[in-house]
């Protein structure tokens, strides 16, 4: 059974939801406080949504200095599966574990609503069990979700298949309709939509399952 650490920063608020999402798929998950410096024994790490350190300065800007982030960087470097959801994605970009940045939505409004996504790469720990071109309806819930990066990075992301999820109808002005991306090795992934909110038709959609199933299905370090 996969052991997943769900990192809790002061101001995180989706930690219980992320925990519920992966445990419902059979993973063994626990909340890990942001001052922890060791992630030994875990097969995967989730940085959940919320407002780590109040999102002061800008989302993720302070969280990248939390003691646990060195451990997350080492874990990623060793090929461990790291997933940043929403605020977690923002933290990963601020920490330099994923390229680019997330800016305020084009409409300058917080947006909470379902979005239709297209799986554009299955070469990541989040999308390995999905099929290319598959449509997933998963809600977004953010103020700063417009992905930006320089042209060179953008070309590289496209060329290497690091864009794993795109919006069918861009809700926030994200460059290239990017909703989620992976690092080159595919073991570090970030996305603005919340797969843990789409685990059951009772709550509107179960399309997030395939993503979290992929993630908790990871048994080994990604080396290539």
């Amino acid at each position: 059974m996969t052991r997943v650490a769900v990192v809790v920063f002061p101001g995180s608020n989706c930690e219980y939801d992320a925990l519920a999402g992966v445990t419902s798929l059979g993973a063994q998950a626990e909340l890990v406080w942001h001052t922890t410096k060791d992630l030994a024994g875990f097969d995967g790490v989730i940085l959940p949504g919320g407002f780590a350190h109040g999102d002061y300065l800008r989302p993720g800007a302070l969280a990248r200095f939390s003691p646990i982030m060195d451990a997350v960087a080492r874990f990623a470097d060793e090929g461990g599966a790291v997933l940043g959801i929403c605020n977690g994605f923002q933290v990963l970009t601020e920490a330099g574990l994923l390229p680019g940045a997330l800016q305020k939505n084009a409409g300058l409004k917080f947006l909470c609503r379902p979005t239709a996504l297209e799986v554009t790469s299955t070469d990541s720990v989040l999308t390995s069990r999905a099929s290319l071109g598959q449509e997933l309806v998963i809600p977004i819930n953010h103020f700063s979700g417009a992905y930006v990066c320089d042209d060179e990075t953008f070309e590289r992301l496209q060329a290497r298949g690091q864009v794993i999820l795109r919006y069918r109808e861009n809700p926030n002005g994200s460059r290239g309709d990017i909703a989620g991306l992976a690092n080159e090795r595919g073991n570090v992934v970030g996305l603005m939509p919340h797969p843990e909110r789409a685990m059951s038709t009772l709550l509107g959609s179960a399309d997030g399952r395939v993503l979290l199933e992929s993630f908790v299905g990871v048994r080994e370090r990604v080396t290539s």
Binding site: F51, D55, L203
Partner: protein, 755 residues
């Protein structure tokens, strides 16, 4: 009798008579600090001095009621070992002056009221009232208030799952921002805001104390906006507090952990009237005294004087009563959550008064062993403000208003009229996180919100809780008593649409100046209306708030009681049907089709009539036994679906604002499928508003009819779903596309018009 020195007491919001009452309580002249304490605690906002006599007429008990009115929140036993806490508040005047911070701190305050009870806040709802959007100031207010709720609520991590949005020019100078919060806790963890145990410590948790919000309850909340400047009065701006959701988030987590670990004897939030309110209320409830060291209170800025420290309404603070043995453990939990924690008070023995009775004294001291700066009976601050039976008089102009009935006005352009009534509020609620905690089965924008009853630390349950906030100032302006009762019936109908049975009521009574006899009459009538409806349906009122002085430039708002209904679904494993009907489904109207009285389809107080400037007319009574049977029938039909049962019922929506035509149009817009409805007997039925009617779609008309008949519930066929148009007889014919587009663009269009 002493004569007041100058008019310091008046500047603090106390009348000359109240000053004399303070002198009588103390048996001496109060010093300035003591006077300031009474000024805030005897304010209308804190003391309910104009309404308390009337509120006693409300039914407040029930077998499932664990905590009724008077505590920080009402609590019911929802079953499966889970208690549900609910509270409603207003933050009207702060929001009028500073919409972002006013609305934000309204959310923060209501959350503290709920987690004070030991409950984790699970959801917030926001009923909002503004003037018409052609006025640029109203658009600024809407943007600011919605951003404030979004900015604070999303960040603090509590989903906002619904509310209401009303535009009427009576709110132009005095918008209403109400907020309701519901939380849940394991039943055995219920805690109350009581200080007990002499020697125990009062620990102030959270933010440092600053000069923000001083006089918020007295200067701001308990006076109208009188001058021409109204809410633009910059002099009142410093009385608005400033919120910090990140501080509140850590405060919530720290307090819930303290409660989980059993470290807390009693806990109380600091809201209106700040530290004086929290210390005097906890001491009064526990029948003990409390010594407060003002110098121990962490301050945000230098040079604050004791009266500022005691009455500041700085946000994100809580007062926990703990035993001395637990102090180190409490400090450790707080340090982990980066929450400041400081001992500011000691629980002390009550003194004995002349008649031998124990009296808990609130003593404000300069150091625990230092000079006593103020010494007053805690109870006199918390519970013994003078109560007023203010003059009440039915306005003499009301008869003419009632006689000016629009029910016979010709409806000449039904298509345009219908389109003008459609507003999709999604521009508002998309800015709110409505899904956190994975409980939201039905979110904002439908009849009622429906949540799974689940959360961290709660026993496992498949129950659901449903919530609806409702108001109808148009009705209440015509007949506050009947209008309020009808509003409650409609709110219960909203719960029925998601399969829930109503369990409890909270209300937020927003009224004008209570010194106007007409306003006091409205308030008194409204309270009787709440009692009428609650008695008829067997519902307890478990909490409420009274917001008075909602006036601007001498004009009172229409009476605006907002009710919050809490309901329970016994077994929630599938979504209720919602509004999406299917092609070829049959459409029926369930419930009494015609109103009681001379007018079967009254238009007085309807959105159709008021939209045309016609604000008169009479409301119609409803026949309560049939109404009750209808509500139970619909709730039962939907509950069966929620429980996982097969059903022929495919869509349910109650007929409310905008009448039958609006209900049909909303369903068509959401479904994307039209319907053909038979000609109505009377064109007024299109827009007539009275509660207890439901539009239901079914795939088996015969079976549904048989069930309704067996339950003694009226049901008539309306027509059939399908096609690309909504047609109602020969009076309405609109394409679904046009209905949907008009509805979708209405609010955004109005907000964008000139900004």
């Amino acid at each position: 009798m002493s004569s007041p020195p100058q008019s310091l007491h008046r500047a603090l919001g106390l009348s000359d008579d109240e000053y004399r009452a303070v002198t009588a309580v103390l048996g001496r002249e109060p010093n300035h600090l003591e006077l300031a304490l009474y000024g805030v605690m005897w304010s209308e906002h804190c003391s309910y001095k104009s309404s308390r006599l009337h509120l006693r007429r409300l039914p407040t008990t029930g077998a499932h009621v664990l905590v009724g009115p008077g505590e920080n929140a009402g609590v019911i036993d929802a079953g499966d070992g889970i208690a549900v806490a609910i509270r409603i508040e207003s933050h009207n005047h702060p929001s009028a002056i500073e919409p972002y911070q006013g609305a934000a701190t309204g959310v923060g305050g209501i959350l503290r009221d709920v987690f004070t009870m030991g409950a984790r806040p699970l959801a917030v709802m926001d009923p909002l009232f503004f003037g018409e959007l052609r006025d640029a100031r109203q658009r600024w207010l809407v943007e600011g208030v919605v951003s404030g709720i979004s900015g604070y609520g999303n960040s603090v991590g509590v989903p906002t799952i619904g509310g209401e949005l009303t535009f009427d020019d009576c709110y132009a100078g005095n918008p209403l921002v109400n907020v309701l919060c519901v939380g849940a806790l394991p039943t055995e963890r219920l805690v109350l805001g009581v200080a007990s145990g002499v020697g125990n410590l009062a620990v102030l948790l959270g933010s440092r104390t600053g000069r923000d919000g001083i006089g918020g309850v007295s200067v701001l909340a308990s006076a109208g906006f009188s001058g021409d400047e109204g809410a633009l009065d910059d002099a009142k701006r410093p009385s608005v507090q400033v919120g910090d959701p990140y501080e509140e988030k850590r405060l919530i987590e720290a307090c819930l952990e303290l409660l989980d670990r059993g470290y807390v004897v009693g806990i109380q939030d600091l809201g209106g009237a700040g530290l004086v309110c929290a210390t005097s209320e906890t001491a009064a409830r526990g029948g003990v005294g409390m010594d407060v060291d003002v110098t121990a209170v962490p301050q945000r800025e230098p040079g604050m004087v004791p009266y500022e420290i005691m009455t500041s309404e700085s946000q994100e603070r809580m007062l926990a009563i703990i035993t001395p043995e637990n102090l180190d453990a409490v400090l450790e939990v707080c340090e982990r959550w980066e929450v400041r924690a400081t001992v500011v008070g000691h629980v002390v023995e009550p003194v004995t008064d002349e008649s031998g009775e124990p009296v808990g004294m609130l003593r404000v001291r300069d150091g625990f062993e230092g000079e006593v700066l103020a010494e007053v009976p805690a109870r006199s601050l918390a519970d013994e403000a003078p109560l007023y039976d203010r003059p009440r008089e039915r306005p003499s102009t009301l008869d003419a208003v009632l006689a000016d009935d629009p029910s016979d006005d010709p409806i000449e352009s039904a298509n345009e009229d219908l389109l003008s009534l459609l507003v999709d509020p999604s521009w508002v609620y998309q800015q709110y996180d409505s899904q956190l905690f994975l409980n939201t089965v039905v979110g904002p924008g439908r009849d009622a919100a429906l949540l799974r009853l689940a959360g961290p630390g709660l026993p496992v349950s498949t129950r659901g809780v449903a919530l609806s906030t409702d108001s109808n100032p148009r009705w209440c302006a015509l007949d506050p008593r009947l209008g309020t009762a009808l509003t409650i019936y409609e709110s219960v109908a909203n719960l029925a649409c998601v399969g829930a049975t109503a369990k409890a009521v909270v209300n937020c009574l927003n009224f004008g100046n209570p010194e106007h006899p007409g306003v006091m009459w409205q308030l008194s009538e409204t309270i009787d209306g709440v009692a009428d409806a609650c008695d008829a349906l067997g519902l307890p009122v478990i909490g409420g708030n009274v917001s008075l002085y909602n006036e601007s430039g001498g004009n009172d708002i229409d009476p605006t009681p907002v009710v919050g209904l809490l309901g329970v679904v016994e077994h929630l494993v599938a979504s209720p049907p919602g509004w999406n009907w299917g092609d070829d489904d049959d459409l029926v109207l369930v419930g009494v089709r015609r109103a009681v009285g001379e007018r079967p389809f009254p238009l007085g107080g309807s959105r159709w009539a008021t939209g045309r400037g016609r604000r008169g007319g009479r409301l119609s009574e409803v026949e309560v036994s049939t109404l009750r049977a209808t509500l139970e029938f619909v709730a039962g039909e939907v509950a069966a679906i929620c429980g996982g049962g097969a059903s022929d019922v495919t869509a349910v929506h109650d007929v409310s604002g905008g009448g039958l035509a609006a209900a049909l149009a909303e369903m068509a817009a959401v479904t994307g499928v039209g319907a053909t409805v038979i000609g109505l007997d009377d064109v007024a039925e299109l827009f007539s508003e009275f509660p207890g009617r439901f539009v239901v779609a079914t795939s088996d008309l015969k079976a549904l009819t048989a069930r309704a008949t067996a339950a003694g519930v009226p049901l008539v066929g309306l027509g059939r779903c399908g096609g690309s148009h909504l047609a109602i007889g020969t009076t309405v014919r609109l394409s679904v596309e046009e209905i949907a587009a008009t509805r979708r663009g209405a609010l955004e269009g109005a907000l964008a018009a000139l900004s």
